[in-house]
């Protein structure tokens, strides 16, 4: 499927590259003075970057007309989940040595861990339901369920914000990209709703896609069931 197209292969290789680079650095003892922290930060950053990349698919398709990219959203999403899992395991196993008392205390007591952990947990059902069979079985509920990606991405950015000690520039970059990607959705949805006969409530920033019919959902910038199943079909 996605793996067979040249674009799919390119994206898979690009997504694997950071992991390969980290592995190479680990093997050659080049992870710096605090290797666990280096791996923790790198896997966390790539989870967030790829999560934002999945959110860029719809704007790329709608605004740039790059329809082929739609088929790669699942690849991007699954790699985001892969890096998030690596990040979580690095933190829980390597950093905390599976000290469950410490892990649970951190999740409960430290807001930045709480939001990071929540973001990770939210990604689990999305990864589990990423198969075609799940898409078919869940139907419209699949769309609803997968809107959790917005929450996960937002929590991921907050997680990064609350982690840094003083220099807020790096998390601000992620926040700006997330805001832009969500803003595009709002703008696309808003321009559509202005021209549609049924005016929809405006307080829909995050759930712009919530719509009465698959058709309006598609045109407000969020995938429908048919988008997901036939991603290469050009939209009118």
């Amino acid at each position: 499927m996605t793996g067979r197209s040249a674009l799919g292969r390119t994206i898979a290789v690009a997504c694997l590259a950071p992991a390969a680079w980290l592995t190479w650095r680990a093997a050659s003892g080049d992870l710096g003075a605090n290797p666990i922290e280096t791996v923790e930060h790198a896997t966390g950053a790539w989870a967030l970057r790829l999560l934002l990349a999945t959110l860029a698919v719809t704007p790329l398709r709608r605004l740039a007309g790059w329809h082929a990219i739609a088929a790669q959203r699942r690849t991007l999403g699954l790699f985001a989940f892969g890096y998030a899992t690596a990040h979580f395991l690095t933190w829980s196993v390597l950093d905390n040595g599976l000290d469950f008392a410490a892990i649970i205390e951190d999740i409960g007591k430290r807001p930045f861990v709480t939001v990071g952990f929540t973001a990770f947990v939210l990604l689990i059902p999305l990864a589990l339901t990423s198969t075609r069979a799940s898409i078919r079985r869940l139907g419209k509920r699949w769309i609803t369920l997968h809107r959790l990606v917005y929450v996960a991405a937002a929590l991921g950015v907050v997680h990064f914000f609350w982690l840094v000690k003083k220099d807020l520039r790096p998390p601000l970059v992620y926040a700006a990209v997330l805001a832009a990607l969500l803003g595009v959705r709002v703008a696309l949805g808003y321009s559509k709703s202005r021209s549609s006969t049924v005016r929809r409530p405006s307080a829909r920033a995050f759930s712009m896609a919530r719509s009465q019919s698959p058709r309006t959902a598609s045109e407000s910038g969020v995938a429908t069931r048919s988008d997901v199943l036939n991603p290469d079909r050009p939209r009118t």
Binding site: G32, A33, N34, I36, E37, L94, D95, N96, G97, A102, E105, D106, K109, R110, P111, F112, W162, L163, K165, K166, D167
Partner: protein, 313 residues
Amino acid sequence: MAHLLRILRPSDARTRDITDLGLHLRRREFLTGAAAIAGAALIPACSRDEGLAVAASSESGAPDAVTPKDKATEYNNFYEFGTDKTDPARHAGSLRTRPWTIAVEGEVAKPGMIAIETVLTAFPRQERVYRLRCVEAWSMVIPWLGFPLGDFLKRFEPTSRAKFVQFETLVDPAQMPGQKRNVLEWPYREGLRIDEAMHPLALFATGMYGADLPNQNGAPLRLVVPWKYGFKSIKSIVKVRLVEQRPYTTWAASAPDEYGFYANVNPDVDHPRWSQRRERRIGDFAKRPTLPFNGYADEVAPLYAGMDLRKNF
């Protein structure tokens, strides 16, 4: 300095336990003067009074191994050169450490400027192997070369109104590129209570690992206060001011709920965003328990007798 000359207890970490053997055997090369030798031979066991030593070595059973020099010189928090921990090693080459003078002012009978060359000749260097605990829950063991801060201060004759000492780092964005942005309010400032500053463990360091300080570690002169979180140990000092009121200190002013004036290492007082109960010794895989006052409780806890350390964190 009679209190330095005391008998080691079995639980004390000795220099040869926590110093690389070659370095240990060569240590006298770094020393000038009999007083320095006496001091170094007993470091870090220069406790003043009786009680259990709380060296990390006695807790874990394993001695405190000196952190490899390349780790200690490539993993630094020195925001004057950037906020990433690898930035200082990459950008500190632009710092010029000669000529360098330190202004001493405020509540002293003899204020004045002192050149770094004078500092290096007037105060014999001793080697002291100290644990360094960062507020970010990592730690190192570093062999410093320096002299007691108290010796430096006494030269300028603090008055009876000198209740605190404030230190300032150089400000020059041309040499310190990180200062082009106001991540912190420059100059970086830190401070101690006068009794903390006069404590024999408080060190003015000009070297480490048997050589002069690398720029990224705070050349040419830095503070080392081993029982406090690392941010108290201000680097590249150009001004020392003795004052009557508690002075402005950079991190405490920047985030008062997260960083206190005292900043004593304390496993029982968490940073609001992370636990201080454990730390990762750079080079180790598993974390280790953090010790009260970074393992120097015997020596320094009496300074804080009667104080609520949760309130005065």
